[in-house]
């Protein structure tokens, strides 16, 4: 993993040096501080398989996203299909050396965890003969709050006075997944998890990943201080190893009873897996330079 990181950093450094020529020493209206508030949207790119058919070869091609299940206020099991992530970003950057920016960025996102890509792998409730109701398992899918904290280093297009239209920036920081505790988690319709430690091992302990991102932003000036931003982010999380085939909750062989419904290794592996499919974000928002 350190080796991987080393290559990433080397690429970033070389790329920055290559761009950093002909820098100007002055700033547009002497604006040296850049505050941005953005929203990013990201299609969940995990392929979905059929959850209707039980046939062996007819599971493919349903679309992209994440199936999840939850209990509503009447404690009825509901299903959902999450196609997009929404992320809120705020950042502060200080411009220096003509066209460089150094800053810190905070992101927030809330999402369901992807457990599996089709219901087939889960529990199946057969209504012998004609009606098949497919329910993978009865346990609620965990909901996570995701916090990113990262340091950013960016470069403005050097032929223009900064801050200007084009920024390429790199971020390195932490992505923290923390279980949202205010949900109606249930083992089944009749059994709520009164103690969340039965739901997930060490439920109050965050899952922490290293996050590397490369972003491009196009700024459209509205007034001399305010800009409308459009951008693309790539979130390259350095993942843990994962094995998606093991540890489904409530499966045969899975530790039940006194054990937690979700094992920590399983959750970590699923979070890593889904992040791998959530690389590209489209970002839009406002930035204020002063």
């Amino acid at each position: 993993m350190m080796k991987k990181l080393y290559y990433y950093l080397l690429t970033v450094t070389l790329f920055s040096l290559a761009l950093n020529t002909n820098a100007q020493n002055t700033y547009f209206f002497n604006q040296r501080n850049l505050i941005t508030v953005n929203a990013s949207i990201n299609p969940r790119l995990m392929a979905l398989k059929s959850n209707k058919s039980t046939g062996m070869y007819s599971q493919d091609g349903l679309g992209l996203g994440t199936f999840y299940q939850y209990y509503n206020d009447e404690n009825v099991l509901m299903g959902g299909h999450m196609k997009y992530n929404l992320m809120l970003n705020t950042s502060y950057g200080r411009i220096f050396g003509g066209n460089k920016i150094f800053g810190v960025e905070f992101n927030y996102q809330k999402q369901h965890m992807t457990i599996n890509e089709s219901s087939n792998a889960g529990y199946q409730d057969y209504n012998y003969g004609y009606d098949q109701k497919v329910i993978p398992f009865l346990v609620s899918t965990p909901v996570f709050n995701i916090y990113d904290i990262q340091l950013t280093y960016g470069l403005f297009n050097s032929s223009y006075i900064a801050p200007n239209k084009h920024i390429i920036s790199y971020g390195l920081g932490l992505r923290i997944y923390s279980l949202s505790e205010n949900e109606n988690y249930r083992k089944d319709a009749l059994t709520p998890f009164t103690d969340l430690s039965h739901y997930m091992n060490d439920y109050d302990k965050s899952f922490i990943f290293v996050r590397l991102s490369i972003n491009y932003t196009y700024r459209i000036l509205i007034t001399k201080n305010l800009s409308f931003d459009l951008g693309i982010n790539t979130n390259l999380t350095l993942t843990a190893d994962f094995d998606p085939q093991e540890g489904f909750p409530s499966q045969p062989g899975y530790a039940l009873g006194e054990g937690a419904a979700y094992r920590r290794e399983f959750v970590k592996s699923r979070l890593a897996y889904q992040t791998f499919f959530n690389i590209f974000y489209f970002r839009t928002g406002l930035s204020f330079a002063i």
Binding site: Q24, T26, F28, N30, I161, N164, K224
Partner: protein, 710 residues
């Protein structure tokens, strides 16, 4: 003219008050117009500004719109706007003169030509413009310009009258409008240069030649001058006169210049009447002469007048124009042209202080250019020079750096001796001596103490030479006195240089070699040079520091271009408006002064003349090749007064261009430069570039950038 006289007489008769006024004040006014060529200063505009300067752009456009007849409705707006914008460009240069003797003269000739066309006389305005091209220019709003170059070349009033009649016909026949209509279809506004905008067809030129005769004939000028006018045009690439070059060029008869340094003979004058004119705006001279010969036969009873106005007045304005030509050649770094023209004028104006000072400036500047390693830039096109001036080109090509430096000192020293009172010449002399320290591989010990001619005489009469041996009193002798004494002994006892042409330069400043002041200046400069060598790196602190003192903003040059790099007038106008607006918002109160006529509400003759001086200053800066040295300004004295008046100001230059690169991409870039008016050195320059179109933020940012560190 006749009308004016009549009114004056009646006025005088009407009231004794007027009578007194004219007899007391009028002589004063007349003498004020007399130019003292000894203290010649570049021509300035005088009196109340004419209409064309004070009208706003919009007023002029609105007025002209009603008058345009030959351009279709679709393009009328464009035509009026573009043609007036081009006119603005000419007016803003500061080179257009009014109220001065030359313009007055031209206006008199105009009145004479138009005496039977009162309405036309009302519409047309004539001005002289300082420019060395031999040209006249008619612009759409009826403003006709005559260049000082033309005035310097023509021989009499009649020739001027014919050229002016030609331009009047262009206006009368709406040639500009007609040709605009033709070019319109293919492209519009690709360029703002007047020449491109009003590329008249050759038919229009023939028509103007022919119809000009009517005005010219009616005014009573002689038909014999017409062919000469075409000769004037044909030979206009030469200087305003052609005389032989002889030894008097170098002034001092003791100055020996080997003839082997000159080309054997001057290049012949080759001007050719029947040249290929396919790419020229005007037909060739042969065709024009042939065409006009036919036209001339249509008129009879020609009168034989070359001049209606007093001949002295013509000679006076011709001299002014020629002095202006010299001056402009200095500004444009055409050193040899300037020297040759001074040489011509010297014959008429002996010991003229202005000419001699200018000569000193030319030599000093030329020498500095050579020391900067840029000699070839002012000698370029030497092969194409024709007539006597080609000898000068050949001569200077042969001179090496050391020879030119020593010859310069010789020249400036001679001028200093002729005008010991002149401060400028004295400063130039000291400067050229200091510059000697910059000559590569130069050894001051090799300079000879006697002139080349004396050395020759000595060699020939070696036997008769008597060595001078005196008892020497060494008491109270300083180090330098001693060195000098030893050197004197050396040079009188032994010959260090062989008497061959290549060594002529060692003998050039024989009288200065033992001059104390000369040696001190040289040694001081040597020391300075040594010091400079030791400075390895010095950070330019001026870039970070704030500028103190006043700022003079010279007319910013702003151009907006649209698709395919075409000039976009509307955006350019918006550009100027926004700059004006941002300056109002951001400029520090009382420190920023605008010397420009773009913001024409406050137009005054005084500030217009200042703009003109600053334009010359900037032109000199951009044309010179000797960046290492402080600028030697042709308007040194006026500039000093100006600096004093504005409390040591800096000149701020802004040049900006906005361009539409593609549908989504805009580019707005500018260069901002602060210049020290006293030395011509750039104090700070910055580059401003944003990917925006012309709007408040982009223009405001530019102004902010320009004013952020003052």
């Amino acid at each position: 003219m006749a009308i004016e006289h009549a009114t004056l007489t009646t006025m005088i008769l009407k009231s004794t008050q007027y009578f007194l006024f004219f007899f007391l004040i009028f002589p004063l006014l007349i003498s004020a117009q007399e130019v003292d060529f000894n203290e010649f200063k570049t021509t300035k505009s005088v009196g109340a500004p004419p209409r064309v300067f004070t009208e706003t752009f919009q007023e002029r456009v609105d007025y002209r719109k009603g008058k345009v007849t030959e351009v279709g409705d679709k393009y009328k707006d464009d035509y009026v706007k573009y043609s007036n914008y081009s006119l603005n460009g000419i007016l803003q240069s500061g080179y257009v003169l009014y109220g001065d003797p030359m313009t007055k003269f031209v206006q008199k000739v105009g009145s004479k030509l138009l005496s039977k066309h009162p309405s036309l006389k009302e519409e047309l305005q004539f001005f002289v413009i300082k420019n060395n091209m031999t040209n006249a220019l008619c612009t759409d709003p009826g403003v006709i310009f005559i260049t000082t170059g033309l005035l310097a070349q023509i021989e009499n009033e009649a020739q001027l009258a014919y050229v002016m009649a030609h331009e009047i016909v262009h206006y009368q026949e709406n040639h500009l409008q007609k040709s605009f209509h033709i070019t319109k279809e293919s492209e519009i506004g690709a360029s703002t240069a007047y020449q491109d905008l009003v590329m008249l067809s050759k038919d229009h030129e023939f028509e103007a030649d022919a119809k000009a005769l009517k005005l010219y004939h009616a005014a009573g000028y002689s038909d014999k001058e017409i062919n000469t006018v075409f000769d004037v045009l044909m030979y206009s690439y030469l200087t305003f006169d052609e005389i032989e070059l002889d030894s008097t060029f170098f002034g001092n008869p003791e100055t020996f210049i080997p003839s082997s340094y000159f080309p054997e003979k001057a290049n012949p004058i080759l001007a050719y009447e029947d040249y290929d004119d396919t790419k020229s705006s005007h037909p060739n001279i042969r065709k024009r002469k042939d065409a006009i010969a036919d036209e001339l036969r249509k008129y009879d009873n020609w009168e034989n007048n070359k001049n209606f106005i007093d001949i002295d007045e013509f000679i006076n304005i011709q001299n002014i124009a020629r002095f202006e030509t010299v001056r402009e050649n200095v500004i444009l770094s055409n050193y040899l042209e300037a020297l040759y023209e001074i040489y011509i004028l010297e014959k008429k104006f002996e010991n003229n202080e202005y000419l001699q000072t200018t000569k000193a400036i030319v030599w000093a500047t030329m020498n500095q250019a050579s020391l900067s390693g840029k000699k070839n830039t002012f000698l370029k096109n030497a092969k194409n020079k024709e007539g006597s001036i080609s000898l000068l080109y050949g001569f200077f090509k042969t001179l090496n750096q050391q020879e030119l430096s020593l010859l310069t000192i010789r020249q400036v020293e001679d001028l200093h001796n002729s005008f010991p009172e002149s401060k400028i010449i004295r400063e130039l002399r000291d400067e050229t001596i200091r510059n000697l320290a910059l000559v590569k591989r130069f050894d001051i010990k090799r300079l000879e103490k006697i002139s080349y001619l004396d050395a020759l005489a000595l060699r020939d009469n070696k036997d008769t030479m008597v060595a001078e041996v005196d008892s020497i009193n060494t008491e109270g002798e300083t180090k330098y006195d001693r060195i000098r004494r030893i050197r004197e002994q050396q040079s009188s006892s032994q010959s260090t240089a062989e008497l061959i042409d290549e060594n002529f330069s060692s003998f050039l400043i024989y009288d200065l070699v033992s001059n104390r002041n000369f040696n001190e200046l040289y040694e001081e400069a040597e020391k300075e040079r040594e010091k400079e060598k030791n400075i390895v790196f010095e950070k330019n602190k001026a870039k970070e520091e704030k500028l103190k003192g006043n700022i003079i903003l010279y007319n910013p040059l702003l151009i907006a271009k649209g698709k395919q790099n075409r000039f976009d007038l509307d955006n350019t106008m918006k550009f100027y408006d926004l700059v004006s607006l941002s300056l109002d918002e951001q400029a520090p109160k009382g420190r920023l002064h605008q010397k420009s006529i773009v913001f024409s509400e406050n137009f005054t003759t005084e500030s217009y003349n200042e703009t003109s001086m600053l334009t010359d200053f900037i032109l000199q800066l951009s044309n010179r090749e000797n960046f290492k040295f402080p600028l030697i300004n042709v308007d040194e004295e006026q500039m000093k007064d100006f600096i004093k008046e504005h409390k040591a100001p800096y000149l701020l230059l802004i040049i900006a261009q906005a361009r539409k690169v593609s549908k989504t991409k805009n580019d707005f870039s500018a260069k901002i430069e602060y210049i020290d008016l006293a030395t011509g050195k750039s104090i700070r320059s910055s580059h401003y570039s944003v990917g925006l179109k012309v709007r408040k933020a982009s223009v405001g940012g530019l102004v902010f950038e320009a004013l952020s560190k003052i």
